[in-house]
């Protein structure tokens, strides 16, 4: 099987559409017959990253490449960037505004969840330019 590539544009600040890309990837992975735990890990990580695009970056783009061995996800945005990635990775640390917290987000668990559920996670961020996040989940 060759790889399958998916691309999504994520609009910023639209919480009613947040999660659409992750939902679509979940359906694709299920249809392809991947192990349910692999599907769950992948979409939890992707949802958190997708929500981050909506909350912090004014939207962005998601590229997903699905192969029999692994699922690679790349999320790019032209948002404000992350000044201190190490600090942002700490459980409970959040810069989400109050209106976002009232929706139930902003627990400071997004990035820790992504790390927990992926096999590889890399963040390239430049303040004032944007952030690219690379995620990988192995399928076995």
């Amino acid at each position: 099987m060759s790889s399958l590539k998916l691309h999504f544009n994520v609009p910023g600040d639209d919480f009613t559409r947040a999660g659409e890309a992750s939902g679509s990837v979940k359906k694709t992975l299920k249809d392809l017959g991947f192990n349910p735990e692999v599907v769950r890990k992948t979409v939890i990580a992707l949802y958190e990253a997708e929500i981050n695009l909506v909350i912090h970056a004014g939207g962005g783009e998601i590229d997903v490449e699905i192969s029999p061995q692994c699922i690679d996800m790349v999320l790019t945005d032209k948002g404000p960037g992350i000044p201190d990635v190490e600090l942002a990775m700490k459980e409970g640390y959040s810069t989400a505004p109050d209106n976002v917290r009232s929706l139930g987000f902003g627990a400071g668990m997004g990035l820790p969840n992504i790390k927990k559920y992926t096999d590889d996670m890399k963040i390239d961020s430049v303040v004032g330019e944007g952030t690219t996040m690379y995620l990988k989940v192995f399928t076995n």
Binding site: G23, K26, I44, I51, M109
Partner: protein, 108 residues
């Protein structure tokens, strides 16, 4: 135990029918979405007061078996639509999450 049985045993109101035959294998209480997302297990019955559209997304992606809105917390209209579309069972009770989770624990 199925969602259908849970409704009978805990005397829950059905807001959205969803998958009534889904097996409940555990429970989780929480209102912070990312917290729930990262910790709830597949098959968990999720007790919360968060009835917005994003809660439906979390339930689907974390693969919870159903949502129980505690203390008569309301479900937003767009969340109801999304739950119907995605087949997520949304139930409701006037009791709080502690009481409901205790009852679930005794049943599992």
């Amino acid at each position: 135990m199925t969602v259908k049985t849970l409704i009978e045993k805990l005397n829950l109101k059905v807001i959205v029918e969803g998958d009534m035959d889904r097996e409940i294998t555990g429970g989780y209480c929480g209102d912070l979405l990312s917290w729930v997302m990262g910790r709830a297990q597949s098959g968990d019955c999720w007790f919360t007061v968060m009835g917005n559209i994003n809660a439906i997304g979390v339930c689907v992606l974390a693969d919870c078996s159903c949502i129980v809105l505690c203390e008569n917390a309301t479900l937003d209209d767009n969340a109801k639509e999304r739950a119907e579309m995605q087949g997520v069972a949304i139930l409701s009770s006037e009791e709080n999450s502690y009481t409901l989770a205790t009852k679930l624990g005794n049943l599992l």
